[in-house]
């Protein structure tokens, strides 16, 4: 496609200039002009001069912008890709400029928690679905936008930037949103699948982070492929049990966004979640591990939240609750593993009729 015809088409917005955000912006810029929302002026200056951000080169069709109103005015289609901890706050700022004709496809893999006054994630004992929300639910709660979707799947930014073959899932109850996602992202190196189970796909992306920590722990103990195979297959079962308790459908967890993402994450030693598990297994204390990282891995919070949800919904989640003990109750990885290997219930598959 030539740049001339590009300017005839309406531009697309991306909010969030982290690793994944810039990667998605680059993918989109192959098809459309892109407005990339960047919070501070300095970074915009930097991008305009160097055409790169944190080592990511930026396509020439990307324009950095720091005005949400302008972004929403220019773009009917917006990809919000900010960490889950800041997602609601970002939506509140964006919401006044949104209309029902907007389409939002987010790429954040985390959960939003609303706690009762005076409670913290540490003190609250049980959590349920009125307090735990996926990002698409936050979008629906905070804005008038209904045509919502998400991106999920094995999408390690580095490999995508290197144009290695990969695929993603665009999930939305609306076929319209799925086809928009396909049209805007697809390329000869990037396959896009559609899925109507939005909540399930979002949860798959979130829950796999738990298993990633466990994969790191096994690796840190020096175990090999048998152990990893065991973990991944049992991990799928646990993700499905937890995911269904939170309103996801089984189907969503078996596809690219489920097993695909899980296998990729459990085999990527550089991911933060994997690193947490690895260091714990090497004998570091949880506090030391957290201190050694510049940003807390999403998976740590996910374990904390999901353990409490599992208690509320009375779901069996041995990997999650054992990891919880390791992370927050001073159990060592070795003790935890011994416990899991002696776990009495061992039906292979019980979620398919």
């Amino acid at each position: 496609m030539t740049s001339k015809s590009l300017s005839d088409l309406p531009p697309v917005g991306v909010i969030g200039s982290g690793n994944f955000g810039t990667t998605v912006a680059n993918l989109l810029a192959r098809h459309r002009n892109v407005f990339l929302y960047v919070r501070d002026e300095k970074t915009i200056e930097h991008i305009l001069q160097k055409r790169e951000i944190r080592g990511h080169k930026l396509n020439k069709h990307i324009t950095p912008i720091n005005d949400l109103a302008e972004l929403a005015r220019q773009c009917d289609i917006i990809f919000p890709i900010v960490p889950s901890a800041h997602f609601r706050e970002m939506m509140r700022k964006l919401s006044p400029y949104l209309h029902p004709y907007h389409v939002l496809i987010h790429g954040s893999k985390g959960l939003d928690i609303t706690l009762p006054k005076g409670q913290t994630l540490e003190t609250v004992t049980k959590l349920n679905r009125t307090q735990v929300k996926t990002m698409s639910e936050v979008i629906r709660e905070e804005s008038v936008v209904v045509r919502v979707g998400c991106l999920a799947g094995p999408n390690l930014s580095k490999e995508l930037s290197a144009r290695q073959p990969a695929a993603t899932v665009v999930a939305s109850p609306f076929n319209e949103v799925i086809s928009i996602g396909k049209r805007l992202l697809r390329s000869d190196r990037f396959q896009v699948y559609g899925n109507n189970e939005l909540i399930g796909v979002e949860l798959a992306g979130v829950l796999k982070n738990i298993i990633a920590i466990a994969a790191g722990a096994l690796n840190g103990m020096g175990y090999g492929e048998n152990a990893r195979g065991l973990l991944i297959s049992r991990g799928v079962v646990e993700i499905i049990h937890l995911g269904r308790a939170l309103g996801g459908k089984t189907k969503a967890f078996l596809g690219v966004a489920g097993i695909g993402d899980l296998v990729a994450t459990c085999n990527s030693p550089l991911s933060r979640n994997f690193q947490v598990g690895y260091k714990l297994a090497q004998g570091m204390k949880p506090a030391e591990v957290f201190a050694s990282m510049d940003e807390v891995a999403e998976g740590v919070n996910t374990v904390r939240i999901m353990k409490k949800c599992a208690d509320f919904y009375k779901v069996r989640a041995p990997i999650t609750s054992t990891l919880y003990k390791v992370l927050f109750e001073d159990v060592t990885v070795k003790e935890a593993l011994d416990y899991l290997m002696r776990y009495p219930l061992n039906i292979d598959i019980d979620f398919i009729d």
């Binding site: 309406p10 009917d76 919401s95 006044p96 209309h99 029902p100 004709y101 709660e141 804005s143 008038v144 209904v146 045509r147 109850p173 609306f174 076929n175 319209e176």
Partner: protein, 566 residues
């Protein structure tokens, strides 16, 4: 003893449109023939789109004939037209003739089109209502007059009381909620009223409510089975009902029905249908709604936006949830039996009614002679996306900002037709309606006592499932009054909390001394049934004579998560 109700504020409402000829429903029936033609034509087009090849269409027609003939064999009703077997026999014959030769998609002559046209025309005629101003007025007078006579005769126990006008229906049936808004919206837009459904009486009741609020007659989607009962059939016909035959599940019928509803709404006729599809057999507030008819509102709104020329204001459609709150449902014992047998073994259930005209009159008499009030809660108006609207009909978001509903149909700057998108919108709307039902449904003392008693018995037998519990002999079930009283109080407190959070509502009689509330509840819960679902024995304990029916009344409060307060 009667627990004192808050002073009834019900007042008379002036009609919002003076003359019947101004009513949209009258306009429709005046041009009845043209309208049926239009419905048939559009339905024909729609079905052709859905079954584009000759083979697909012929298969569909064959399935339709088969189903119709099965229906006639198994389940014929008094209202069915006498010529229908002949009609379908002819269709079958023509189809056989047609399929004798291979179907060529390039052929110019398309006999199956003619057959389809014949079928949808017949269906459109069957469905169409027949609103006549003269019989509407007559039916209205009858209801007013006789109900008033009955009420006065029974309440004021003096000779000659039958001619007094001290009490009117308004004292018996309370209308609460957003009445003023409803009247405003009906002036500026098209109303789609969606009430909960528990009794065959609902249709008449809601017809009266619409009249009492000064609104023009609505068109109804009423179950054809109701037309088997002659009295009701008369009222329904005169109130502008169109007929929904739930035995017919074939594609041409369903599409014609939806087209009828959709086009009527598009033309501005206020409409009413029970989105639960049928009476709530379990007694619960509807949780799953039928999306078929509801989707016609979405589609009509989109068409209005598409067709309105620039510069004109498009007419808006407002969805108004309504709950009908009863102490007593005439058919409760049969409904719950149906429900339990479906749940128990997934059995086929024929649509039939055990109540004829005589039973209905008996019920009406009981209804007026015993103190059992009905209340009708009118919910806040919604747009077709389930957003609240203000007094002027503007859609509002959660922060109170005005939304342009048209934007929901826009893609890339233009209104587009996207069936899948609209199906999803309809599903979202149905969830909003269910949430509104729970919010506006008024909890009565009778619901409270039924719920608490049943849940307490369930708790006493934690190992029994529902069916096990229901099999227990009634004599074994007693509750200590003090325990019962304490639990009622606790659950009532929670209902107050839910009301504060905007998730529930209750009648004014639920407030006050708990002993009086319990007494009111016991006196009223299913009070006309042969076997009382709940009462107090001589020792002052709470007992039941019919646990199944108690379960039915208990279910009204299922869905509020009150179980954990038992």
């Amino acid at each position: 003893m009667e627990v004192i109700e808050k002073k009834n504020k019900n007042k008379r409402y002036k009609p919002i449109l003076d003359k019947i000829p101004d009513w949209p429903v009258y306009q429709l029936s005046k041009n009845r023939k043209e309208f049926i033609e239009e419905v048939a034509e559009h339905a024909f087009k729609r079905i052709k789109e859905m079954r584009p090849t000759r083979k697909q269409l012929v298969d569909e027609l064959e399935a339709t004939v088969y189903r119709e003939q099965q229906r006639m064999k198994r389940n014929r009703w008094r209202v069915d037209p006498p010529d229908e077997s002949k009609f379908w026999a002819k269709v079958k014959e023509d189809l056989i003739e047609l399929t004798a030769r291979p179907l060529d998609d390039n052929a110019t002559e398309r006999k199956e089109d003619e057959i389809l046209k014949r079928i949808v025309q017949r269906y459109a005629g069957e469905i169409a209502g027949n609103f006549k101003p003269s019989s509407y007025r007559f039916a209205r007078e009858i209801i007013q007059f006789w109900f008033a006579r009955l009420l006065n005769a029974t309440r004021v126990k003096k000779f000659g009381a039958i001619f007094r006008n001290q009490y009117t229906l308004r004292d018996k049936i309370q209308i609460v909620g957003k009445v003023k808004q409803l009247r405003n919206l009906a002036k500026n837009g098209t109303i789609v009223m969606v009430p909960t459904h528990s009794s065959n009486l609902d249709s008449i009741l809601i017809g009266w409510v619409i009249h009492a609020l000064g609104l023009p007659a609505f068109i109804y989607g009423a179950g054809l089975n109701l037309f088997n009962i002659k009295i009701i059939a008369y009222f329904m016909n005169s109130l502008g009902a169109y007929k929904v035959d739930r035995r017919k599940k074939n594609l041409p019928y369903l599409e014609t029905l939806k087209m009828y509803s959709g086009l009527a709404i598009e033309k501005g006729a206020h409409s009413l249908f029970f989105p639960g599809g049928t009476r709530s057999r379990s007694g619960t507030i509807e949780k799953m709604l039928k999306l078929g008819l509801l989707s016609t509102a979405t589609e009509a709104q989109r068409n209005i936006y598409l067709k309105t020329p620039e510069g004109e204001t498009p007419r808006k459609i407002f969805v108004v949830p309504v709950t009908l709150n009863y102490h007593f449902v005439l058919e409760a014992p049969e409904l719950i039996d149906d429900y339990l047998s479906i749940k128990g073994q997934d059995r086929y259930l024929p649509e039939d009614d055990k109540y004829g005209s005589v039973q209905l009159i008996q019920f009406l008499f009981k209804f007026f002679t015993k103190g059992s009030n009905i209340s009708v809660s009118i919910g806040r108006g919604l747009d077709i996306m389930g957003n609240y609207v203000d007094e002027d009909g503007n859609s509002l978001d959660a922060q109170g900002r005005i939304i342009d509903t048209r934007d929901y149909f826009i893609s890339n700057g233009q209104i587009t037709i996207d069936k899948q998108r609209e199906d999803e919108y309809t599903r979202m709307l149905s969830q909003r309606i269910v949430a509104e039902y729970h919010k506006i449904h008024r909890t009565f003392a009778s619901h409270l006592v039924a719920f608490v008693a049943f849940e307490m018995w369930q708790k006493q037998h934690p190992k029994l499932d529902l069916f096990g519990l229901l099999r227990l002999p009634e004599e074994e079930l007693t509750l200590d009054y003090q325990e019962f009283r304490k639990t009622c109080k606790r659950v009532r407190k929670q209902i107050y909390n839910l009301k504060k959070e905007g998730k529930a509502n209750h009648a004014t009689h639920l407030k006050g001394k708990i002993d009086l509330v319990i007494r009111h509840g016991l006196e009223n819960v299913g009070n006309f049934h042969l076997k009382r679902p709940l009462l107090m024995d001589k020792k002052g304990n709470i007992v039941t004579k019919d646990l199944n029916t108690l379960y039915f009344y208990h279910n009204r409060l299922a869905g509020y998560d009150l179980e954990k307060f038992i």
